[in-house]
Amino acid sequence: MFWRLVAQLLRGSRGRLAVAIIAIVSGAAVISALLNLDLGVQNKLTQEFRTLGANIVISPAGDAPAQSSSPDVPTLMPADDVLQTLRQLPPAQVTAAAPYLYIVARSQNIPVVVAGTWLDQAQKLDATWKLDGNWVASREDDSHCLVGHNVARRLHLAPGNALELHYLDRGVQCSVAGIVDAGDSEDNQIFASLRAVQSLANLPGQISLAQVSVAGTAPVVAGYATHLATVLPQFQVRPIRQVAEAEGALLGRIRLLIISMVLLILILTALCVLATMAALAMERRKDVGLMKSLGGSISRIVGIFLAEVGVLGAAGGLLGAVLGAGLSYWMGLRVFGTAIAPRWEVLPATVALMVVVALTGALPLRMLGNVKPAQILRGE
């Protein structure tokens, strides 16, 4: 009989429930969309910040043999351990990593900085580089190089041209794969494969430093740097402050902003659902009075209406949560260009929230517990 009553309640007052249902479904949709979005936004934004470049640098330890800090004699460190570590970094956390060997070579008799590195990582480490030509796909490719556009202009180079590099009495040739526009020091540099530069400078197994691009906020990056420092204790591992700190502060601000607005909306939505539920509950007053006069205890009576409201909240919440997941998917596409996958936890959370809010709206009926049926039926 209990569930029969609830079912009839729901069926019988369809019209009046319309506003309540709309409130619950839209409220749930908004909440679910925003919750999904909030969870996804942080990840997306963190990835966006990776275009700022590397945020961890591995360099020779402070007690390395004293060198001058002139680039004619580069400060070096043995590469093997570092390269080994770089190759084993988990791609989920680490967007890109590459070693660098800087020398000052000569091309067409002009001194030019040459960086030996893993060319396949160039695009990932510096995603804002504009390229005229092609990227170099493999780090083993000794025959191709990337040239900064200032260098290209000075040396009159275009993609496909041959480039000769000289260091002391050695020389090497490579083909220009692409010309880079970075808007930074890289415009004045030539990038070739690590092996080629090591052989040109006769510095086998040596590098100047290594850079890593880790996804995450400043504390995550700092933590990762510490972890790397334990793996490579003979080197100095530090976060690159320009990137790490600014990113952290900015992410923090944006996140705070979004969270506050989401919270506001949540409160508002809850209030709206509460108001409509309360109005609905008030409509039931007369029925409560009648049932009391039939000998129903207030707990049993309120139980029926709470069940009705609970079913409404659950059903509306479910529908709304599904709609909201779709909404956040669309919003992700619109804002970030890639979809934000809905998180499954949001569904039960939204439904639960809606049920709780709906029930809270109906609870005032409990207050009719001490009111005389005669009063209620009279309409006071």
């Binding site: 009989m1 209990f2 019988g12 006069s293 000998g295 005389k372 049926p373 005669a374």
Partner: protein
């Protein structure tokens, strides 16, 4: 005959207004009492207290051995379910329940529901073919008959009716009144509030109210009214 209802010095105030000002009377089991008087005289207040729908603090109102005035909320709830069958002027059927379900509702709050019994109860009042109808699909008279079936379903000791035909037209009034006559004939005790002398005449006794007081408590059948 046993005394079913014993009211002693009952008082009830609404703010400054004395709705009941020291009312005392008795009702025997099986009697049909008409409580009469102008509007505002306290009739409805009395019947509400006897039915456990309202409370007071002064006086005694013993129904089937239970002093309603002394009951707490839980006690009143059981009292309403077990001892009383109430028939309202405005019917007060639940609009989204069928006739059958409206009767079953009373069963539900008493103990357990019994669809067969509820159906029989509706057949008793002549609505056997209307049990699946919603109140909006029934005429006023039919709705009141459902209310009567509902009032009877738990075999109450006392039937209370507050202007049971007040919202009905003549034809339906006749149907409901003959139903009450049948119930009276079967031995039910009925307390009925009415302001119409013609209806009051159907009862065994009339109790007159005015300004919260009994004006006339006739212990014996009245002389027939002059038309």
């Amino acid at each position: 005959m046993a005394t079913l209802v014993h009211v002693e010095n009952l008082r009830k105030e609404f703010g400054n207004v004395r709705a009941l000002d020291g009312v005392s009377f008795r009702v025997n089991a099986g009697e049909w009492i008409a409580i009469m008087g102008p509007s505002g005289s306290g009739k409805t207040t009395l019947i509400n207290i006897l039915g456990g729908l309202d409370t007071t603090t002064t006086g005694q109102a013993i129904v089937d051995g239970t002093d309603v005035v002394r009951l707490d909320e839980a006690g009143l709830t059981r009292f309403r379910a077990e001892k009383i069958g109430f028939i309202f002027q405005q019917f007060h059927l639940v609009p989204y329940l069928t006739a059958l379900e409206n009767v079953m509702l009373a069963q539900y709050f008493h103990s357990t529901t019994d669809e067969k019994e509820a159906q029989q109860s509706l057949e008793r009042v002549g609505l056997g073919d209307r049990i699946e109808h919603l109140p909006s699909q029934l005429s006023g008279g039919e709705q009141q008959r459902v209310a009567v079936a509902r009032a009877l379903i738990n075999h109450p000791k006392l039937i209370l009716a507050d202007e049971p035909t007040g919202n009905l037209d003549e034809a339906n009034e006749e149907i409901v009144l003959s139903l009450l006559r049948e119930l009276h004939g079967e031995g039910h005790t009925i307390l009925m509030v009415t302001h119409a002398a013609t209806i009051g005449r159907l009862a065994d006794r009339r109790i007159e109210f005015a300004h919260g007081r009994l004006v006339q408590a006739a212990a014996a059948p009245l002389k027939p009214e002059l038309a």
